[in-house]
């Protein structure tokens, strides 16, 4: 750095000062420093290079700061908590909480202990629930989007109608589902049992027992599929009609067009959509919490509720954090493997 300080200062001036004042000031500075013209132009070029080198970082900085503040710091705090015996005795002053190292993790993944067994069972239920919910939401979204691809009368109305669940506040919607699923007074049983007579004998329960899993799945799909519809509809806008015309000339039927034109064109959309749906559904807390209250039936004991109960109801935040971190690692692993596989396939394709 052999440049005099004054010259560096002048670089900032034209940017900060009002435009009309800039040339004068720059000249004045240049004269004061006494730099020959040739040197000046070289310096300007270097300055521009430096500016363009830092500009991207500058633009990204606010996002990075917020990302660190909102996501990374709480995550690291969570990791720290998971290494402590953080019970009600210590929550007021975390420094007094005994450092237990990986004890919480050992209890979490010790599948012979009751804590580990319960977590594993909850994990299994969540995997099944997520797979079914994501697949069904995607399937419904794709079907609806494809059928509404060509303009017809009332298409806008139908699209709006289909998107309603996505626009409703989750609490109000799920509370309503809770009413619908009630055994004696709910609409579901009224239709199934009283009007259609589909059920022999006793009225079924939906909010407790084995059916509670299916009740939860129905609400989840109902809430999620409009988002799939939205994304796939947007993705279909980019499929050129020429490809469909060419396919039609080649004599391709509906299924052939779907598998050879629509689905391959949607691949980038689907790749992101499925991942996002998976992560959202796996972590979904509101739906089960509002539908069942704090205590979910064992058949529908999703991992988010399970962890909530392990930390808030039992006041053991260290254990809850350890479970959260294990969950986080699992989701990171799934995401990484998924992206690796789908990206490789795209390159090969």
């Amino acid at each position: 750095m052999t440049r005099p300080m004054g010259a560096r200062g002048s670089a900032a001036v034209p940017v900060r000062r009002p435009m009309h004042a800039a040339p004068d000031v720059r000249q004045h500075h240049a004269r004061a420093v006494g730099a020959p013209p040739k040197q000046r132009s070289q310096r300007q070029r270097r300055r521009r290079r430096i500016r363009s080198k830092y500009l991207p970082y500058l633009l990204v900085a606010p996002a990075v700061v917020l990302e660190i503040g909102i996501h990374v710091v709480p995550m690291l705090v969570g990791v720290w908590m998971s290494l402590l015996e953080l019970t009600q005795f210590h929550i007021q002053d975390w420094s007094t909480a005994p450092f237990v190292g990986i004890d919480n993790y050992a209890a979490t993944v010790n599948f012979h202990s009751e804590t580990g067994k319960a977590l594993l069972k909850s994990f299994g239920i969540t995997v099944l629930y997520t797979s079914l919910s994501v697949f069904l939401s995607w399937l419904f979204g794709l079907s609806a989007a494809v059928f509404m691809q060509r303009p017809f009368k009332g298409r806008a109305l139908l699209r709006t109608l289909f998107l309603t669940p996505y626009a409703l506040p989750v609490y109000a919607a799920v509370i309503t589902w809770g009413f619908l699923f009630q055994r004696d007074t709910g609409l579901i049983n009224h239709v199934l049992v009283d009007q259609l007579g589909l059920v022999d004998g006793e009225r079924p329960f939906w909010l407790i027992g084995e059916n509670s899993f299916w009740a939860l799945l129905i609400v989840s799909v109902w809430r999620t599929w409009p988002f799939a519809l939205l994304c796939i509809t947007a993705g279909l806008q980019n499929v050129s009609t020429e490809m469909y015309e060419a396919a039609a000339i080649d004599g391709a039927g509906f299924w052939r067009r779907l598998s050879s034109v629509t689905l391959p064109s949607l691949r980038p959309v689907n790749q992101v959509l499925l991942l996002v749906l998976f992560l959202w559904t796996f972590n979904d807390f509101n739906t089960p919490y509002v539908l069942f209250g704090g205590s979910a039936p064992p058949e529908a004991d999703l991992i988010s509720i399970h962890i909530y109960n392990s930390s808030f109801s039992t006041w053991d935040f260290g254990m809850g954090s350890a479970m959260s971190v294990v969950l986080l690692l699992f989701l990171l692993l799934v995401t990484a493997v998924y992206l690796m596989i789908t990206n490789r396939r795209r390159i090969h394709a």
Partner: protein, 420 residues
């Protein structure tokens, strides 16, 4: 996620108020709605401001949020000065050391320890320690019964034993109505009954050192007795297995069930259109032949305590407010509206608490009520054992047999989870 939730709720807390002329007060939801409570408290707080010049900012916090909000306030050292707490949380919150202890000096500042009803004071912290709170509203369980239904079935007096309750329950159960309504999917309600039954069967949920003793014969028998009201005696509508939002209270008020075990339900019945003449109140039954070691307990000491956060910037004012809220006059005024009982002896003498309902509740509270175990893991007991019972009710409702062995296995499993 726990961290995210904690940080999330931290952000929701207000800044502590530094001046001596304001207080922040979190009230629990005692009436039919948050708005109702706000209106009930407004004139009370105005009187306090007139007397002391201290303005109280009140927020009525729903029960579903209160404990989490308290935990967040304890963690962050920010939030309210004075709070209401469920009295069963006293020992757990005491352990956080976030609340001031009511040692003799603190009691002197609010008018002395002797003013309070001893049973209520026993549910304000771990035994042998200075209480972490003082009682504000007191409640106990009672048996509510529909007089007309009893008369129609030719029953002259309410059951005094569980055997009698089953017998009259069967008479009262027909195509239109059921003998008893139960809040089967509500873990807390379940746990409260688990406590009472266990006491009557001579059991304990925790030993003297505070360690859980869940899977004892007495506790298994206690839970089985309660579940069997639906599973074996069939005097409870199986639908009650999914009740968690006070539907059993509605069933009773809407004449779908003849009996209900509840705490101070009168004002809620009124809100649902059932007048006080329509129902009678009796004590919760006992077993006809008490098992060995069985205790004469037929209710928990239920109630709400008032506590002061150590982090308060206006401790003087906070103590002044506790003194005011537990004064005879305000105790009468508030408990009258909420249908609960005063926690100070002098206020209990007021004619407002001579109604049949309050008389029964007071009788129970003074003689046969016992506090839930004042141990730091009490809320775990409610969550875990309450959930086991919810699952058993679900099995009973679906026609699966309820066995002592299955209950024991479940209790054993949750006991191990408590130990980590």
């Amino acid at each position: 996620m726990a961290a995210a939730l904690l940080t999330g709720s931290l952000a929701a807390c207000g800044e502590p108020v530094a001046d001596a002329k304001t207080l922040t007060y979190w009230a629990s939801n005692q009436g039919s709605s948050l708005e109702f409570d706000k209106q009930t408290l407004a004139p009370v707080l105005e009187r306090f401001e007139q007397q002391t010049g201290i303005h109280v900012k009140v927020e009525v916090v729903p029960w579903s949020d209160l404990l989490n909000r308290l935990l967040a306030a304890a963690t962050s050292g920010r939030g309210p000065d004075v709070v209401n707490i469920g009295n069963t949380w006293s020992a757990s919150l005491q352990a956080t050391n976030a609340l001031i202890s009511f040692d003799p000096q603190a009691f002197d500042r609010i008018g002395g320890k002797d003013r309070f009803v001893p049973a209520a004071l026993a549910a304000a912290g771990a035994p042998g320690k200075a209480p972490a709170a003082v009682p504000l509203y007191s409640l106990s369980y009672a048996l509510y019964y529909n007089k007309q239904m009893f008369a129609d079935a030719g029953i002259s007096k309410p059951p005094a034993t569980w055997e009698e309750l089953v017998e009259v329950g069967k008479k009262l159960t027909n195509g239109k109505q059921w003998g008893l309504a139960i809040e089967g999917a509500n873990p807390s309600e379940n746990a409260h009954h688990a406590f009472t039954f266990s006491q009557q069967y001579g059991g304990e949920w925790f030993d003297v050192s505070g360690k859980p003793t869940f899977d004892t014969d007495q506790n298994v028998a206690a839970i089985k007795r309660y579940i069997d009201l639906m599973a074996v005696d069939k005097i409870v509508n199986p639908s009650n297995a999914e009740y968690a939002k006070n539907e059993s209270l509605s069933d009773f008020a809407n004449r779908k069930a003849a009996m209900l075990l509840w705490q101070a339900a009168g004002s809620a019945f009124q809100a649902q259109g059932m007048s006080p003449e329509e129902y009678g109140i009796a004590q919760v039954p006992f077993p006809a032949n008490p098992p060995a070691g069985g205790k004469k307990v037929n209710s928990m000491v239920a109630g709400i305590n008032i506590a002061v956060f150590r982090h308060s910037r206006n401790l003087e004012g906070a103590m002044e407010f506790v003194k005011f809220m537990t004064s005879d006059a305000e105790q009468v005024a508030l408990n009258k509206v909420y249908g609960s009982l005063p926690s100070v002896k002098a206020a209990l003498a007021d004619p407002a608490f001579a109604a049949p309902e309050q008389k029964v509740l007071a009788e129970v509270l003074n003689s046969t009520a016992s506090p839930l175990p004042q141990v730091t893991t009490e809320s775990q007991f409610e969550t875990l054992v309450g959930a086991v019972m919810k699952e058993q009710f679900a099995n009973a409702a679906n026609g699966k047999p309820i066995t002592a062995a299955a209950i024991r296995a479940k209790l054993k499993a949750v006991e191990q989870r408590m130990k980590g």
